[in-house]
Each structure stands twice: as C-alpha cells, then as structure tokens.
C-alpha cells in the first residue's frame, strides 16, 4: 500500500512538473497555476520518493506516515503561502520578511530537524536490522528460498 501510494505520488508529481513547464510556453506572462503546479509536483515527488523507499511488503508506514505527511504539508504550505500571500508590509520573522521566512525556515530548515530523526528512530523497524543482514548474507552464499 505504501509503495503503491509512493509510486502514484511520483507519477502524479511528474505530471504536475510537466504541466508547470508546459505553462511557461503559453503566450503572455507565466501563469500562477504553473508555479502552483510545480509546488505540487515537488511535494508529491519528494514525499512519494521517501514513501516508496521506506515501503516494505506487509508493513504499513506507521508513525513514519506522520513525518511524511508533515513534509508534504510543509512543502505545500511553505511554497504555496509564499506564492499566494501579498507582499509584506512590515515586520520581520526571525530576521526575514514573512514570505521569505516561510520558504527559508519552513522548507529549508524545518525538515532538516525531523526527517533525519524519523529515519533514525524507525531504522530497525522500517529500514534494516541484523536479521535482514543475515538473510542477505545467506543469499550471497546460495540460492534464495
């Protein structure tokens, strides 16, 4: 299920990125929907890649699903709000104008704190444990059951 969702996200994300690039070839100024399509493409492809890579047969994503959902929300909201909110009138957020802060701190910094941690905390259950290594080493030395 997780693998299928990840793959579907990748395909849809690729189509969204293709639509974004196609929008640039239309006459006139670049349309807003083109940039929004690229935001959707980036979010779907990034999170879809992680879901596909983390998926293991018969094991749901579990609490990892929350980390991936948070990543998707951060990408869509960070870039989306930066596109849709009006230019800042005044005031800075942690030293930057509000929309710039959403992109820099939201998209550029926030995932760096929780994604590597999510990977490490779920490593044994989702990625690799000693039993997996033994099975792989057995496959090296003979046919796989």
């Amino acid at each position: 299920m997780a693998a299928r969702t990840g793959l579907a996200s990748l395909v849809l994300g690729t189509l969204a990125a293709a639509a974004a690039y196609a929008s640039a070839f239309l006459p006139g100024d670049p349309p807003l929907w083109g940039a929004l399509a690229m935001v959707l493409g980036i979010a779907l492809m990034s999170v879809g890649s992680m879901a596909l890579g983390a998926a293991r047969a018969g094991r749901p994503l579990g609490r990892l699903g929350w980390a991936l959902a948070a990543s998707f929300a951060i990408l869509v909201l960070g870039f989306g709000l930066a596109l849709l909110l009006p230019r800042d009138a005044a005031g800075l957020w942690a030293g930057l104008p509000r929309r710039a802060a959403l992109v820099l701190y939201g998209v550029g910094v926030l995932p760096a704190f929780f994604l590597p941690l999510a990977y490490a905390l779920t490593f044994r259950e989702r990625t690799l444990d000693a039993g997996d290594i033994e099975r792989i080493r057995a496959a090296r030395n003979g046919p796989v059951e």
């Binding site: 693998a3 990840g6 793959l7 940039a35 998926a55 930057l96 104008p97």
Partner: protein, 502 residues
C-alpha cells in the same frame, strides 16, 4: 537562468598575503600526507573503487558532503545570491530533504547489493537490477560524458584558486591543481579520496561557519541586514528574488530530485563497513551540509547589505562577493582557510568523478561488451590519469566551451540515473526496456537541448531549465515504457529481488 551561471569560469580576486599562502601550503601538506598513508593501503581493485568496504558512517557522510558541494558553494553561490537575491537560495534549500530521501531510496539498497553481489560501480547496480549489460553500458556512457565536462569545469575552477592562492597564472594553476588531485587519486583511489574528503569536508565546514559568523557580525545581525536591504532593494528579499516563481521552484525541483542521481555520492554507499550504521547517515550528512552552506547565504546577504549601505563598492562581477567580503571584513588567515576550503570542495568533487569515471572505463564498459579486464587495479590507475589528462586539456583549450560542457554534467546525471537507478531499485514494476529508454532519453534530450540552446537555435522561456525538462521527460518515458512492457516486470534475479524487498 542557465546553469552556466553556476559555474566558476572567471578569475578570482586574489587575497594573496603570506598568511594565506601559509594556510594554502599547510592544507596541501596534510592532503599529501593522507594520500601517502592511503596509497600504501590500496592493494586491490576493491580498495581502489570501494575503499575495501571499510569506512565508517562519519567518513561516509562527510566525504559525501564534500563530494556533493563543489567550489560553487563558496564562490559562485554567494555571487549568484548577490545578483539574483533570495531566489538563488532555492538551489541549496533541498538539502533539508535530499539526504533522507537518498537514504531511504538508495543507501540501503546500494549497500546490500554490494553485500550480495560484490558490486563496485553505480552502473553495476543498474546492470544487476535489469539483468542488462546494455543498460549498464548506456549508464556508463552517460556518466563518462557527464564526468569529462563536469570535471573540466571544476579543474578550471581549481586552476583559478591555485592562481589566486599562489599567483601561478591560470595555465600553471590548472596543471598544478590537477597534478595534486591525480597524484592521490591514482595512487590511493577512492580510499585516499574518502579520507582526504573527510579532512577537506572539515575544512569546508569550519571555513563556512566562521565566515557566516563574521558576515552576521558585520551586518549587525540578520534582522539589521534585512532592514538595510529592504530599504534600498525590497525585491532582493522576495522569496524568489529576481527570478520568476517558476524559475526559482525549478531550481528546487532539479537540485532536489536530481540529488538521487549523482553517481559520485551514491557510489559511496558501497564503501560503508557496517550497513546498520546507515541509521545516522542522514542526520550527519544533513547537519554537515547545512553548516557548510551557511557561507553561501551569509555572504550573499551581507555583501548585498554592505554594498547598498555604502560599506563596499558595487562589485564588478558577482563572483567577487566572497573574495571582496574576505578582504574587507575577515582576518587574512580566515581568507586562507576559505580558499583552502574552496580548493578542498573542488578537489573532493574531482577525485570522486575521477574514481567513478575510471570505474566506467575499467569495469562497466568491458562488462557491457562481455569482457573483463585482467588487472582492474592497474587499469583503474591508468584510466584515472587518462581521464584527468583529457579533462585538463579540455579545461585548458576550450574557452567558453568548458562552461557549456559543465552545463549538462549535473543534468545528465539526473535525467539518466534518477529513473533507472533510484526509482528502479524500489519499484519491481520497472522494466529493462523502461530503463534503457529513459537513460537514452536523458542522454539525447540533455545533449540535444543544451547544444541547441548553446548554439542559439532556440531559447527556452523563463523558468524552464534543460536539466529540469530532461528529467521530467526521462521520468515520463520510464513510467510509460515500463507500463507498456509490463510483461517483463517479473524478470528480476532472486538475490536482487530480496534486496529490493528488504
């Protein structure tokens, strides 16, 4: 925005002083000592190409960081920020995601393929996944083409740094810098490479952190820097800077998804001694990259603020941003450390390219042709020297063409390797035909579009990059052809299938 502007092809402002030269010499001596140490330990082709599968996770992560970041992070990047505004930062922002993405998609599977099959190259993994020497050979050709162009650009940049440090002139700078990299790459292979990368990564991170501190102090903190810039040029701190939103987001897309197809980074997963240590790889790699990229952002905004407030004269060239800041606001020794950091960034990238390229010539192309070379270690050393000479000559004689060659290097890696390697190792439905078609599409579209754009046949509209478009097209071809040939989908060897299911 062309990737052309990401490449360092103009002379640097030289901060030459005795202190800078001493730091430069000290850096070179340490690199030489590591190279001699590693050279004595390189006895087999596995030592030469995968460091004998004996490195730890800290070495893996720091070496991968050093190979990922070229001199662009220190010179071209801050310059790009100075000229384009905050939009240029979208090139580096994907670092918050890409290392964990790469770990989930590739780190475990590459390492386990090395365990089960004894693989040593990235095209090896493609060949094993699809049971296809043709796919392996085609991936090898794509990597080799990209490497020569990409290396030529980096070698030219290295020549500029050596010239800036020691006043050698560009020609001697190119060949002195190249000789240093080749000496340790040919003698110690990737074993020398990863341990020099570890040292070089440390130099890069220390230089970046210190310069970022000076940049913030110079401007009175980020808030004050922002207020200074907003008063004179509010567009600079728009989320997309002077770029269109689509152009800036396209940077994020290409440098985010494209990170899954960089062979000089992915190849390093084979080298890890204990696969269970991958647990902390994304955390270490992400932290190292974030620290090392602080200079990119800090110098970019600090120099802009100093220029608009009259503290610095407007820059003649954007690439002068870092040298101008170092000369005006930091001690000479820190300037030396930063230039050593630039040299380190370039040398670590070139060394990784040399090793990956030599592996293609020595291993992947013979395998694709149904042959195996008798002494891969000796041929690996010969190939290393041959590739470096070729790239050096290209850097020396081709003028602006060297930038053109570098343009498609990064994009070619992404469009040819992301679908077949990164997705293919995680999706059993990917087929041999889909992989071959996507690699061929990536090669043809990247080379074709870049050549057409370079020779002025046509220009893409703002926001469309050749590397982004080629990546999208190769992905669509990969999904489409795999679906059309889905009857082939079950043709995966049992041990490879086990790795994919683990």
């Amino acid at each position: 925005m062309s990737v052309l502007s990401l490449l360092q092809v103009v002379p640097l402002a030289a901060p030459a002083s005795p202190g800078v030269v001493v730091v430069g010499i000290g850096y070179a001596v340490i690199v030489a000592a590591i190279a001699v140490w590693a050279g004595r330990r390189t006895r087999t082709a596995r030592d030469f190409f995968v460091a004998g599968e004996g490195i730890g996770v800290w070495t893996l992560a720091i070496a991968a960081m050093a190979a990922t970041l070229s001199g662009f992070s220190f010179i071209g990047g801050p310059g790009l920020m100075y000229s384009l505004g905050l939009g240029a930062v979208l090139i580096i922002l994907p670092a918050s995601l890409t290392n964990t993405m790469t770990a989930w998609m590739l780190a475990k599977r590459m390492r386990l393929l090395g365990e089960v099959r004894g693989l040593i190259t990235v095209p090896d993994a493609i060949g094993a996944r699809y049971r296809s020497p043709l796919a392996q050979g085609l991936a090898g050709v794509a990597i080799l083409v990209a490497i020569v162009g990409y290396m030529a650009t980096n070698i030219l940049a290295l020549g500029l740094v050596v010239d800036a440090l020691f006043g050698t002139g560009l020609t001697w700078g190119i060949w002195i810098g190249l000789a240093a990299v080749v000496a340790y790459s040919a003698a110690g292979g990737i074993l020398a490479g990863v341990y020099t990368d570890l040292f070089q990564g440390g130099v890069m991170a220390a230089a970046s952190l210190l310069v970022f501190g000076f940049a913030m102090r110079t401007g009175g903190g980020l808030g004050e820097i922002s207020r200074t810039i907003l008063a004179a040029d509010p567009g600079f701190l728009e989320p997309w800077g002077r770029l269109t939103p689509l152009a800036a987001l396209s940077f994020f897309f290409v440098f985010g998804m494209g990170a899954l197809g960089q062979p000089h980074v992915v190849h390093k997963f084979y080298m890890l001694k204990d696969p269970l240590r991958l647990k902390w790889y994304p955390a270490i790699m992400t932290a190292a990259m974030m620290v090392t990229l602080l200079l990119y952002f800090g110098v970019g905004v600090a120099v802009k603020a100093e220029v608009v407030s009259g503290g610095l004269a407007p820059l003649a060239r954007a690439d002068d941003a870092t040298p101008a800041f170092l000369l005006a606001y930091t001690p000479a020794l820190l300037g030396g450390l930063v230039f050593a950091g630039v040299a380190a960034a370039i040398m670590s990238t070139v060394n990784s390219f040399l090793n990956v390229g030599a592996a293609v010539i020595t291993h992947d192309l013979p395998v694709a042709l149904g042959r195996k070379l008798p002494d891969e270690l000796a041929w690996g050393r010969i190939s290393t020297i041959a590739i470096s000479l070729l790239a050096g000559v290209v850097a020396q004689v081709s003028g602006t063409l060297v930038a053109f060659l570098g343009i498609f290097g990064w994009g070619l890696f992404a469009s040819t390797l992301v679908p077949a390697l990164a997705i293919g190792l995680n999706w059993p439905g990917a087929t041999r035909s889909g992989a071959i078609a996507s690699i061929a599409t990536g090669l043809v579209t990247t080379l074709g579009f870049e050549s057409a754009a370079y020779f002025g046949v046509f220009t893409f509209p703002a926001g469309v990059t050749v590397s982004g478009l080629s990546l999208v097209l190769s992905l669509l071809v990969f999904f489409g052809v795999s679906w059309l040939t889905r009857r082939e989908a079950g043709e995966i060897d049992a041990d490879v299938k086990l790795v994919m299911e683990t």
